[in-house]
Assembly symmetry: D3
Homo-oligomer: 317 residues x 6
């Protein structure tokens, strides 16, 4: 049995080499990319057995995604579907002022039809933590129901529920997101949210410490983590706020940094760390992730320990 | 003004290197692939100015397709759309007994919404030949109407209409295809059809010579070409049947062979060749195509002449 | 629990692109290669849950091997070792008269130190089939004992034991192999052996039918499969001999053909097929394997069924 | 009819991957590179239909160059030549202190023989702007005459003439360049020149503002743009000097930055922008170019607008 | 001191991957290619120390060529030139009916200016064999003199002179070749010539045995080898004719097959083999070459021995 | 005869592309890497003929290493061995905080068995400088004797002995290194040592100037160079200390920087430069090396001169 079960869609990610433009590409690098599988992998790497739950087409493309995730070490427990596409997205890397761009091609996927009854509720209820993100209910009305059902099942099974707000403006409006996601909040124990989303989607104001405190108090979360990109993160727990700086990195790929942070935070909390210690490991895992091409935190526990114990070079605290 | 105008969808074609499996791919070769653009390119290479008419998403992916086709030398006249996907397909190359496989991912494309009124009818009516294939009306009910309208406009403008039957079982049933396509037959001057499709979709019987003759007589086509893969082709015209063998080749990629044949046949007929001569150039162009990776006949007129005049090594006549 | 448990070493396989020479290589393709993991994968692909048991260094190279195998779908149950190398081998592909060549670099590996007590005997005793090959005891004297112990444990647990003779002249002499391997024979239910090895290592004579019969009778195996490369295989069971031809293929990679055959044979026998039917599926799986780059039979059950039901083009029967 | 017609040579550009040395290369990336085609592409991307006029060998190499340029969206109107080479150059990328190096191999090219009478004078006289650079007359004495003739024809046709001074020390001495190019000045309306060239080739002194003013006054240009690399540019028009800073960029390839600037400046001026606004778009286009591998500004008008409206992060003003 | 000294030009060879067309290439494989260096390498591989004499530009491109040749094991003794280009050629691979094509870009090279006085005559006079081909005098009138001078110096030094006729129609006419090369014949001991060239350039008639005999008798060569491509070769010596078949091969690259044959023949003759034995080793080396990508026979003496002793599968004798 | 003879092991270096992780690699870049060959190449590039002495397996892998080194221009004089492996190492590139990592796989190599009597003592005694590093005696007890013997032979032959301390903690403990290497000190004329090693292995204290002085005085070296990475180096000679700053670089690969420095220092000293001038050329060579991928300083003498004369941008002095 896995200690962590995550639920979400993982897409085929297609990207031209280096900073080449999509409109001029003659080859694509192929990888699997999805927030919930990223979190599972990061947690597993820090010693927490993890399973990714999903629904994928029974096709070479669906198998391609599952194969890569299994290769990274997690368990995969998927419903193989004969209807619906494999979601893909195109990634074009670029620096300032062009900026990295993403084109989603994820309508009508197999995952969008996933219903709670298709999954084994025991997997969720026997886990220590169940995790999904705000992307999942954004994908279809079916998934709105499924997300709610699975969070409910987890709560009933005594499983801690963790949720990354992860607002995606290419999927829905702030208003839709706010309405849908705040309804899920009562079923969530641990909320991870970007300061930016707390402000622009939920309408909170103040500095990140205040955001964390207001969120935690208003919705009665057990724990709130407010992330601030390269400026670190804030953890709120038992009405206490903890600040965590970000480590300096030679960044190769920013994508998946937040997922690495979240997966490591969950793994360390479950293994008994207090919030400040878990934040430290989370920041170290996120820093290592940024040195690794692709979306996934292919780190070892020893490497994370080494960053934490060396103190790294923290940019801000 | 182009002498040839073709109308159809061109997809992004994604394929793993060599004979690698899709489920194990970590890179994809990216090319544009579509029957109607292939035909335009082959005709242009044989000296007939050609334009490809289509509707594509205004996105890097749509631009990617158009850019490649322009690079091959044809003109592109496309409606840029803000709705609808860029169609893609995945190609996995393999020999016996695995066999090359294709996965289409072409639902809900921009092209599927293309209506006749979106295109400049003058382009079609000022051309000498208008060409499309049985794939186009298979893609959406809108396109069924559009195909009929465009064939009608061409006829009204005195433009010769040419049509490749091109039955695709992944798109529709033989019954649907028969019903739709035979309705278009009265508007078509030149029909190209595989012997296999004449039998299994249209229900004709007999050897290829008989198929050509029955088709030509029953539907009053001006010209019928029955293709037989590596065994050559039959041309029917003025109630006379002409046989053309296939040249021996070191085949690198079979895909697009038929399109190369058709494009060359059209170009040579329009330039004044009689049917047997046009068939000979068509067979030579198809043979050269098979030595070239990808879908497209990147040949020069001189190369085709050289094959014809050397006599090549014909396998059958 | 897996139905099939295999035990053996899987190496990092390093090979220059195409037919490039090792002495001139500037890049290597990296893959995992090992007979016992190949067999597990082929069996799993035909529907038999399979686990690969091994001992690998706790290093990025050891993780590299395990990750690839997990990605192919099997379970991996490995002892992570702090001593011993990851075995590698260099593969140089070539046709006649140069011939594909292999350079082993597999001395002093972690696997060579694997002792039976390091593995969970339940894994083996709860499986339906336990499989290893003649390569394993060739690797170290420790492994000679370990192989014997594991075969014994399997027999005690009521697990069928299957064994591929797999003589490798770069590892030991025919005399050493014969002495060691025939001692293991009493513990083996199903023997797979190349006709060539039966003759040159064990000293049997006669045509393949006779070899199978003599081996089966003399050593009291339950089943003997004598393989003949591109000429098919002979199955001996209950004193009856069955011949199976090989399918015609466009071969891309011969390596792993025998393992694909063996894995499929085991899977089909366990699922209830009689010997001739299992041989037919084995031959079809082997044929598909030859169309796939690399060592591994990345096939689906449906593809194998399709080859069997189409009859393929058998070269010999 | 194109609004912009440019005239010049475009070479095959061969470069080892990354920062690899030419003397150690085992593969070359192949691209087309030439200032005048770069300018045409940048202008076209900003909405100004553009044609590149040239003379190239009728060979696969000549076709290779033309194909790539057509793929970028411009029209190509070339004289196909049976004599003369395709010019090539080798590019070796490197940072400090090695520095990027270029080896020209462009003697005896087809283009060097281009005479004015080979081109359709209507193409030039019906355009709104005709553009070439100081590289063109540096290539042969024939091209000196041709450049003068084409500028004269443009002037006679009422076409605005734009010229980038572009001194290349590997092609001629400062003295030769000064003598030849100043003779062309009376036929030029818009001059673009690097501050460095104004000083070292033409012998002007002063800060860039002064250089622009002196050049404009002395030679009676309509507009002068003095470029300063990463420090921006100066525009002089109607005796007024305008300064434009450079945007901060994550630079991937500097090559073609100036051409992107010039093409965008021309396009925006022709579309009605005043000089300061055109300079702003030019700087934004140049900034985007620097994030794109290769020589060419594969940007969209929307991307340029976005940089201008965000204000970017200007380094200097 | 080397036993074999060869003199000739080696070019940079640029080729698209696989069978891709030059006009569509976006990367080139880079190799050094030249008949005289190929022969030196083949001889060295069979145990005869060899030096390649040439003149190359002192540039990264010149160093690139020399570096690759040194890496193959021969000595290089080159005049570094500050004038003249590095010769290049473009290779496009293709099967029937397209055919592999070569575009030379080798005018005005540094090598074309090579004069005999620039080389150390001792190198040639202390060698056992001096070798060049009919390509060398075809490249410039300077090289016609140089070739004659070096053959003369070799003869004076007691060095055996070997010469491959190697007619190249892209370099000169049959008449020019005949006139120039027959003047060199009196200075040549060992002539290698394709049957095709003996007929179409020199006007001889008859079967290959007759060609060898007529050539040997008329020009008083010590040894004549008439090559017949895939049909083997004829050796004439002491008025006796020896036939040698070709081995069957899985051909990957035909280029350089003749050079491999010649280099091996020279090496074996010098080591004391009689003509038939040397022809056998030459044929085996040529067969191995055909399995190796590129122009060069990267074989070992052991591999050649193995082919000879196994008898291979000779196609014809 | 070479002026410089170096003695050491060069490994096959296998590395994934870019910053990819070893555990996820599907291709490796292949290069030869070794300190003593790096030093020979740097010296040769600065005009000092150099030979690398070693012992390698007679295998494609051994030939691969030798071929690459010959291609870089040095002479190779190796004992071909039928026993022992080719050493390899795996390199994983990464920035902060992950850090570049190396996995050695160099036990039981052919080189580890190299004895002094296997090499031609004349090669060493006729050279002007003999060079090896602290890596060599760390590899086996045999090599401890061999290193001592070769240094002794060099001294007897009047050859200057140069030695880079090069402590490698993955090969031995500081205590072992200190004991072994200080015994060699009396036979060494020129010592190069990192300040870090002087402190942590030899136990010296003080700033780099003091380290150099203490080392030089205590062990009576003729010259001591203390290197300080990106902070430059200290040269001690005739009791005078000279400081040399490091040039600013856009670093692509740090590996081999120290070897480039040492090789250049030796070459310039031998050519007559005083210590401060030699240090300046050494720093310039090291700076250029950092702009070049791989381990080797593929520079030209002209490039080094250009950096020295431009003054570069020194970071510290
Ligand atoms: Ca391409
Ligand atoms: Ca391209
Ligand atoms: Ca990968
Ligand atoms: Ca390939
Ligand atoms: Ca390389
Ligand atoms: Ca790269
Ligand atoms: Ca190479
Ligand atoms: Ca190389
Ligand atoms: Ca392309
Ligand atoms: Ca490209
Ligand atoms: Ca992979
Ligand atoms: Ca892979
Ligand atoms: Ni690439
Ligand atoms: Ni590429
Ligand atoms: Ni490419
Ligand atoms: Ni590629
Ligand atoms: Ni890859
Ligand atoms: Ni790759
Ligand atoms: Ni490479
Ligand atoms: Ni590469
Ligand atoms: Ni390469
Ligand atoms: Ni490569
Ligand atoms: Ni390569
Ligand atoms: Ni490559
Ligand atoms: Ni490519
Ligand atoms: Ni590529
Ligand atoms: Ni790659
Ligand atoms: Ni790959
Ligand atoms: Ni790859
Ligand atoms: Ni690749």
């Amino acid at each position: 049995m896995s200690d962590l079960v995550t639920f979400g869609e993982t897409m085929l990610r297609l990207s031209p080499p280096d900073e080449r433009r999509l409109e001029d590409a003659d080859e694509f690098e192929v990888l699997a990319g999805g927030a919930e599988s990223n979190v599972a992998i990061a947690a597993q790497r820090l010693g927490m057995p993890a399973t990714w739950l999903s629904k994928v087409p029974e096709s070479p493309l669906g198998r391609r995604v599952v194969s890569e995730l299994r290769g990274y070490g997690i368990d995969t427990d998927v419903v193989w579907s004969h209807r619906g596409r494999q979601g893909t997205y195109y990634l074009e890397r670029a620096g300032t002022p062009r900026g990295t761009k993403v084109i989603y091609d994820r309508d009508d996927t197999a995952f969008a039809t996933a219903e709670a009854r298709e999954f084994d509720v025991d997997r969720v209820q026997n886990a220590r933590v169940f995790f999904t993100t705000g992307i999942t209910p954004a994908l279809s009305s079916t998934l709105r129901d499924t997300t709610a059902s699975m969070l409910k099942a987890a709560r009933q099974g005594g499983t801690t529920t963790a949720f990354d707000f992860n607002y995606r403006r290419k999927l829905w409006s702030p208003e839709e997101a706010e309405e849908t996601l705040t309804k899920l909040f009562p079923g969530i124990d641990v909320l991870v949210i970007a300061a930016r989303d707390a402000r622009s989607v939920l309408g909170f104001e103040g500095d990140p410490r205040q955001l964390a405190h207001k969120l935690g108090s208003q919705y009665e979360f057990e724990t709130v983590v407010v992330t601030r990109g390269s400026e670190g993160a804030i953890g709120w727990h038992d009405s206490v706020v903890h600040e965590q700086g970000a480590y300096e990195t030679d960044t190769v790929s920013k994508i998946g940094t937040g997922d690495a942070f979240t997966g490591a935070f969950i793994a360390r909390r479950v293994s008994g760390d207090d919030v400040p210690t878990a934040l430290e490991y989370a920041a170290a895992t996120a820093a290592l992730k940024r040195t690794i091409p692709g979306d996934v935190a292919l780190v070892s526990e020893e490497e994370v320990e080494a960053v934490v114990s060396s103190g790294g070079e923290e940019l801000s605290r």
